[in-house]
């Protein structure tokens, strides 16, 4: 595996409003390779947003270290930090609070403009990024005329225009309706497949996490499980303890197996369950 981001025994604590230290991350060791398609899942307050902010040096570990392409986020060197942020794009939960300009293409250009790239090259990147997210026809629209889902796609295009190796998305779908949700997920899949960009997708919905190649479950600031989705979702108890929902198909499969019906193991999706049941009939 070609390493991209590395968390080495990372701890992070901060002072709460009342002055006592709160340990938000504990003993995180995590390796993310080039072109991975990964989801980090946990309930609110499990530390996943704090973890996200370590990917590009918005936060730095209290102890341990985070390396992006071999560069540490903790050196405090501005140039190095810029290099890291060029490689790791970030998208946040609320699209309204991360878009800078009122016109779609102007906003997408914001990142490359910051890097001092020549105008024709910026234009090329912006057009490419918008096309990759199926937003090209909206390039001159005012942001305030877009739906929340479309705004989020613009935010992703903004990250893509930096030509990153990896995009970290912190609950990008939490405010969206199911249709836009699906659109965002499909777009990310496409970026991963066609452009080879690693995707780190943070969510609290299992039904979204099943779409990824690898799932990391967080609970109380620690990584509880790290593995293939089909291995994780069969562990119903563990997920319930972490305050997460289990996709209905996975739950039915587990319950049927427990009752002695030979349903195939590792079922996550509706079609898989239906196919497996049809073979039993």
């Amino acid at each position: 595996m070609n390493l991209l981001v590395e968390f080495n025994n990372v701890f992070f604590s901060y002072q709460s409003a009342s002055g006592k230290p709160v340990e938000a991350l504990r003993e995180i060791t995590l390796q993310i390779g080039k072109g991975e398609f990964l989801s980090i899942i946990g309930r609110n307050g499990s530390g996943k947003s704090t973890l996200a902010r370590h990917f590009n040096g918005l936060l730095t570990p209290t102890s341990g270290e985070v390396l992006v392409a071999g560069l540490s986020t903790s050196t405090g060197d501005r140039k190095q930090l810029l290099e890291i942020r060029k490689r790791v794009g970030m998208v946040f939960q609320n699209p309204d609070n991360q878009l800078v300009s009122s016109i779609v293409e102007e906003d997408v250009a914001f990142g490359p403009e910051n890097l001092g790239i020549p105008p024709p090259e910026i234009r090329k990147r912006v057009n490419h990024a918008l096309a990759a997210l199926n937003m090209f026809k909206y390039r001159r629209e005012p942001i305030c005329h877009l739906s929340e889902g479309q705004k989020q796609l613009v935010a992703i295009a903004g990250a893509l225009a930096m030509k990153p190796d990896c995009i970290v998305l912190d609950e990008p779908t939490a405010q969206l309706d199911p249709c836009s949700r699906k659109q965002v997920l499909e777009s990310l899949k496409k970026l991963n497949r066609d452009e080879g960009i690693a995707i780190v997708f943070i969510t609290h919905l299992m039904s979204e996490a099943v779409n990824f190649d690898r799932v990391v479950v967080m609970e109380q600031g620690e990584v509880k499980v790290d593995g293939l989705p089909e291995d994780i979702f069969s562990r119903v108890e563990l997920l319930e303890k972490a305050g997460l929902d289990i996709p209905v198909a996975a739950r039915l499969a587990v319950e049927l197996r427990q009752r002695g019906f030979p349903v195939a193991p590792g079922i996550l999706r509706v079609e898989e369950l239906v196919n497996s049941l049809c073979q039993l009939k």
Binding site: R85, F92, F110, E113, G116, I117
Partner: protein, 275 residues
Amino acid sequence: MELTRNLTLGVYLPGKTALHCLDPRTKIAGASGLILLLILTNNYAAYASFAAFTLGLILMAKIPLGFALKGLRPMLPILAIMWVFQLLFQKPPGSKVIFSYWIFSATDAGLHIGTLMSIRVLLLFLVTTILTLTTSTVELTDGAEALLRPLQKIGVPAQELALTMVIALRFVPTLAEEAEKIIKAQTARGVDFRRGNFIRRTFKLFPVLLPLFINAFKRADELITAMESRCYTGGAGRTKMKVLQMGKSDYLAWGVFAAFTVVQVFLMLKIGRPY
């Protein structure tokens, strides 16, 4: 209940008319020139020609006339008050008393000053509205930045100012929408914003401002994080995707503007003040 329905100032009306397509620098400089002319203008004939010119611009930009005028409506009560004040308290030496009652009296000069001032304010508002209706906020800031850039040498942070403006304008619709939501939430719990006089209604808006401000700070905080993540480190070393370029129509516009200025100055000098 739609707070933003009658808002015309600061709203952009997309279009492809000649006015829309001018270089923003031309439009900003032109609008500033027109405003300067308005401040200097001192008689009805000049104002009439100015109004005709403004009307021409509105028609040219294909702005529905009713929509442009509707934006003037909120100004009317304030203008009426100002007009009465000018009427009653402007008494330059040599003016004639045309009306008096109890302790109040008005002069012909007061009448003219009040009326001219009201027309001036209305036209000023219209000119600004035409500018914003035909120029997107992005163009506006790009234009302003380009016009300010020469001042960078004497320490004016043109880039930062422009970006501040971009962000402020970006959040106008968001905050207006949010204010509407807060007003609705308060209405739903028994506040009646439509009842009471102007002052009472204004006071009722204060509780709306508190959550609006608190949210605005939260937004600002998140925005800074997002900007940092997108490698923003200040104005130095930034490039722009769009490079402004003046064309033939811009030079034509400059010609029209120069001719209009000549007419206005002529009318000002020839006719002079009516009082």
